[in-house]
């Protein structure tokens, strides 16, 4: 990856007006170097202000950085320049989903699906939107039945109604019990996120065994793309909230507390 970045950077240095910045920016984005990707993208746009692909690249970088409104604005520009742009419709569909604007999300996703690119992530996202918009069409469950898969996925939906936040309930082995996590690309990545973040709990428990501070009650950290907060709930389970980095810390904490309370009652009911 670094060789490819170096090669593309050299190529761009030789010819700053080249469109190679699109490939370089995308490579940087997918390797997680979002700040550098942003700079490359903005410099490219200075020379190619009317390139739909350049605005599309900037939108994807903004989406990865959690700057969802800016991503929407850029994709809106893409559609002005190229009304049939598939990536912009798909991207807007996913960002609007993350913002909880399900009707608008459905519209863009359906338009993207109609373009016939055969992207499986679109159909998955449309199914998720469908569940959010029309829960009544789901198979009815008796009151006494164990929580269904859809119940579990939507466990925090009303708490997270404002969008820009997501929550997961993770068991002691790092497996997801409830909640959903849709990436900016529209993939369901709850299992991956749950497994990756549960490692923090192990470090916290190890630290607490040696520091005279008692049991840990919450951990939060500010990453480039999200503010993450987590708290233990019951039976070794962990609730995790990821929110837009621009969201105030205190608000994230309140959301975490609400999700933790919901998790405890859900786990009790599910037992």
């Amino acid at each position: 990856m670094s060789d490819q970045i170096r090669h593309l950077s050299d190529e761009l240095a030789r010819d700053p007006s080249s469109l190679v910045f699109l490939q370089l920016g995308e490579t940087l984005r997918t390797s997680g170097q979002l700040d550098v990707a942003l700079r490359v993208s903005l410099r490219g746009l200075e020379r190619h202000a009317y390139s739909a692909e350049a605005h599309d690249l900037l939108a994807r970088i903004c989406a990865d950085r959690g700057e969802l409104q800016r991503a929407l604005d850029e994709w809106d520009m893409v559609l002005r320049l190229d009304p049939g742009h598939y990536g912009a419709r798909k991207g807007m569909g996913f960002v609007l989903y993350k913002q909880g604007r399900f009707s608008e999300s459905e519209q863009y996703l359906r338009e993207a699906a109609a373009s016939g690119e055969g992207d499986a992530s679109i159909s998955h996202a449309l199914a998720s939107v469908e569940r959010m918009l029309r829960p009544e069409v789901q198979q009815p469950q008796p009151e006494s039945a164990a929580p269904s898969r859809n119940d579990a996925r939507r466990l925090f939906a009303d708490i997270l109604a404002d969008g820009d936040q997501t929550a997961l309930l993770i068991d002691s082995s790092g497996l997801v019990l409830a909640g959903a996590y849709i990436s900016a690309e529209g993939h369901e990545v709850a299992e991956e996120i749950g497994a990756a973040l549960s490692g923090v709990r192990e470090e916290a428990e190890r630290a607490m065994r040696h520091l005279p501070l008692g049991a840990w009650t919450s951990i939060s950290f500010e990453a480039e793309a999200a503010t993450v907060a987590m708290a233990p709930v019951a039976n070794g389970a962990l609730v995790m909230v990821a929110a837009d980095p621009a969201m105030p810390q205190g608000f994230v904490r309140r959301v975490l507390e609400s999700c933790a309370a919901r998790s405890r009652s859900w786990l009790t009911g599910a037992a």
């Binding site: 997680g32 470090e203 520091l211 501070l213 951990i219 990453a223 480039e224 793309a225 993450v228």
Partner: protein, 98 residues
């Protein structure tokens, strides 16, 4: 404030420490650096990018950490600490030390 430690982010070795009597700065540095490193690795694995400020809240206190380069600044504080003020101070410290 119980203690403040600057440590190597990779191996937790103390670079500088000011801690209350009875607090082992080596233990604090090693554990907090490991906790911060765990968060960094987890955030990268989850595609969330680099980690800035970290806070662990426990029954009898807090652990705060913030990294820059190969170093991590760790603060251990009582439950009564003003978290918002401390966060701002640590962010400013990182800027001045970077």
């Amino acid at each position: 404030m119980v203690g403040c430690v600057v440590a190597d982010a990779h191996d937790g070795i103390v670079v500088e420490a000011v801690v209350r009597q009875g607090v082992n700065s080596n233990t604090v540095a090693a554990l907090a650096a490991s906790l911060y490193g765990g968060a960094v690795q987890s955030a990268r694995a989850a595609g969330m990018g680099e980690v800035g400020f970290l806070r662990l809240e426990a029954e009898r206190g807090h652990v705060f950490a913030i990294g820059w380069g190969d170093l991590v600044l760790v603060v251990i504080a009582d439950v009564s600490v003003n978290v918002g003020q401390l966060r701002v101070d640590m962010l400013k410290s990182r800027e001045s030390l970077a």
